[in-house]
């Protein structure tokens, strides 16, 4: 295998890790407003031209046409992993390009449900058939999910040269979001499950309310709630004590919005009810409650 293949191929392997990590990351409940609309598969086509720095003659003109069939790993953050293929003019010869690209959204402004403008940061590894290995970094501006402009810098490891390119493109394919609905959670039918669900609702309502005040207030509430759930003292065995503990932990907002559970059926103890309340909060925080 030619040495020049190593950087782009290595990059493709390296890409998989961060792409998976970014895509599986938890959303920040305190920073709402990012659309989760957007397609799961797009194919931008881009035509670019620029200069190759670090080369003398012939003229350092460079141009390329590239196609990026992109799978959107995470539509909220627009984390995309793409195959890259195309043709490049490395004056005076033409070569084919093949490789991959990882990109993620760094800014997004939607006009309600209509896609507006977005800015993506991308990292690309390519192999050129004239035995070049290329590693590129780019900013991609996206307009309405239809057009895009790219500014790219690319390192040519074979010729120890750097390429600067400006590109314009459009989406030759921009699929609608998948028409399959996510699997809906099964509703609880037992009393304690309903208690936990009710607590989850009221805790989420407190988060939703606090973030209308400020992101800082919301984050403080989440931190306090995390500590509250993780340090569940064993002497909290009644709903009244649970309410008092919420206030003591600085979670007055949760306490105010919390509804008392409906009366327990025979055979259910108040200790179990309190455990269900903790479980409801832990479910929202996605942390295991203390047994």
């Amino acid at each position: 295998m030619p040495m020049t293949w190593i950087p782009p191929l290595g990059l493709l392997f390296v890409m998989a890790g961060p792409a998976k990590a970014i895509a599986s990351g938890r959303d920040d409940p305190c920073a709402p407003g990012k659309s989760v609309y957007g397609p799961s598969f797009v194919v931008p086509l881009e035509i670019a031209q620029g200069v190759t720095l670090g080369r003398g003659s012939p003229a350092p003109y460079a141009a390329s046409i590239r196609l990026y069939p992109s799978y959107v790993l995470d539509r909220r953050r627009q984390v995309r992993i793409a195959l890259a293929g195309g043709m490049a003019l490395v004056n005076p010869q033409l070569e084919a390009l093949v490789g991959g690209r990882l990109s993620t959204s760094v800014f997004e402004l939607n006009l309600g449900p209509i896609r507006g403008v977005g800015l993506h940061l991308g990292l690309e590894g390519l192999y050129g058939t004239s035995d070049r290995g290329l590693l590129g970094l780019m900013l991609i501006g996206d307009l309405g999910g239809a057009f895009q402009g790219t500014i790219r810098t690319e390192r040519d490891f074979t010729n120890s040269a750097t390429l600067l390119e400006l590109g314009l493109g459009f989406h030759v394919h921009d699929g609608s979001t998948p028409e399959t609905a996510p699997v809906l959670p099964t509703p609880p039918h037992d009393y304690l499950g309903l208690v936990a669900q009710g607590m989850a609702r009221d805790f989420k309502a407190a988060i939703g309310t606090s973030r209308r005040e400020s992101v800082t207030a919301c984050r403080a509430l989440l931190l306090a709630a995390q500590a509250f759930v993780q340090h569940h003292p064993p002497d909290i065995t009644t709903v009244a004590a649970f309410r008092h503990a919420l206030t003591e932990a600085g979670l007055e907002q949760v306490e105010t919005l919390m509804f008392d559970p409906d009366p327990a059926p025979a055979g259910v103890t108040e200790v179990q009810v309190v455990q269900a309340l903790y479980r409801g909060m832990a479910d929202v925080l996605e942390i295991p409650p203390r047994p």
Binding site: D174, P182, T186
Partner: protein, 344 residues
């Protein structure tokens, strides 16, 4: 004996307020209803209630995100499409919740439901319903639902905000190919099936239809405040003026719907007063009774309506009601419970 009805208005994501209120009314206050009517998100809610699917409804709304409801179309395809957004996930969710036994329960008409829609072909207000012999008078039209597919289609149609979501062909054939009547000799071939969209364009809270079916105890959940609040801002952008205008139109339709119930009550009270005054003044009670119950009397068989309106005190959402955020949904559900507790 009068019927107890639940009416839920339209409002997109704000439907979470209604789900919270209904959850409190049914599970905490143990209220039950003989009749349901809903528009848009209210049609989704009342359809699920008639199907006995309150737990599923609560779970769906509490965990809703935009992706569980709608899809976004490619920007380049919007102009050639019938809507800005797709409603595939919502249809799939409804198909998951309204399984065949649930649909059979709704279609049996045990607890009738009325779902408001607008017929795009005729421009008429339309009720899809499950009540045999329902009293629906022109210019409004109605169709008794008979299959699960029709029921799901009707719920989806009622929720399909025009322009934003696609119209729905609920019925396989044109509902009334003879309407409007064509001039004599005109060819009648090629009449297309009717498409239906959100009935909120014409009726935001379908109170009149439940009054017409004999409801006397009405719980109405209306998802926009009925009191005007001054917006202390200068509107300088198209994208600010447009939603404000739509809000004002929606508020107007909602106020008119509530006004129908209030005026019906005023007239019924007046009619009752006239009857008692006539009898007190010495008129023959049998004659009075005959006059007031003769055929064609509009208030024949109607009783005073006990209307309880559950409405948020302040606007529930600042922005787009087709953006579904799980924390906002929970906040509105909590607000709905709180408001129902205060009002009831």
């Amino acid at each position: 004996m009068g019927k107890t009805a639940l009416v839920v208005s339209g409002g997109g994501a704000k439907g979470a307020f209604a789900v919270g209120a209904v959850d409190f009314m049914v599970n905490t206050l143990h209220l039950s209803f003989d009749l349901y009517a809903g528009t848009s998100t209210g049609a989704l809610i009342t359809g699920c209630l008639a199907a006995g699917k309150l737990p599923e409804l609560v779970t769906y709304y509490q965990n809703a995100s935009t992706d569980t409801m709608l899809t976004q179309r490619a920007a380049g395809k919007i102009l050639s499409s019938d809507s800005v957004l797709g409603s595939g996930p919502l249809r799939k969710a409804l198909e998951g919740i309204i399984d065949q036994p649930a649909a059979d329960l709704v279609l049996s008409g045990t607890t009738p439901v009325f779902l408001t829609a607008l017929n795009l072909q005729t421009g008429e207000l339309f009720y899809f319903h499950t009540m045999d012999g329902a009293a629906i008078e022109r210019p409004v039209r109605g169709h008794r639902l008979s299959t699960r597919q029709e029921l799901i289609g009707a719920m989806l149609a009622s929720a399909s905000v025009p322009v934003m979501m696609p119209p729905v062909q609920v019925l396989a054939k044109a509902f009334d190919p003879d309407f409007p009547p064509l001039p004599a000799g005109s060819p009648r071939a090629g009449i297309v099936p009717d498409q239906f969209v959100d009935g909120g364009v014409r009726e935001y809270a379908p109170l009149k239809v439940v009054i017409d079916q004999g409801a006397t105890d009405i719980y109405a959940i209306i998802l926009s405040p009925l009191t005007r609040a001054r917006r202390n801002e200068t509107f300088t952008k198209l994208l600010g003026i447009l939603p404000r205008t739509i809000d004002a139109l929606t508020e107007d339709v909602a106020e008119n719907d509530v006004e129908v119930a209030n005026r019906t009550n005023l007239l019924l009270a007046k009619v009752a007063k006239i009857r008692s005054d006539l009898i007190a003044a010495g008129a023959d009670p049998v004659l009075v009774e005959n006059v007031f119950t003769s055929a064609g009397t509009p208030f024949n068989g109607k009783a005073l309506i006990n209307l309880r309106v559950i409405v948020p005190e302040t606007p529930l959402l600042d922005g787009d009601s087709l953006q579904f955020d799980t924390f906002d949904m929970a906040r509105m559900m909590n607000a709905g419970r709180r408001r129902a507790k205060a009002v009831l």
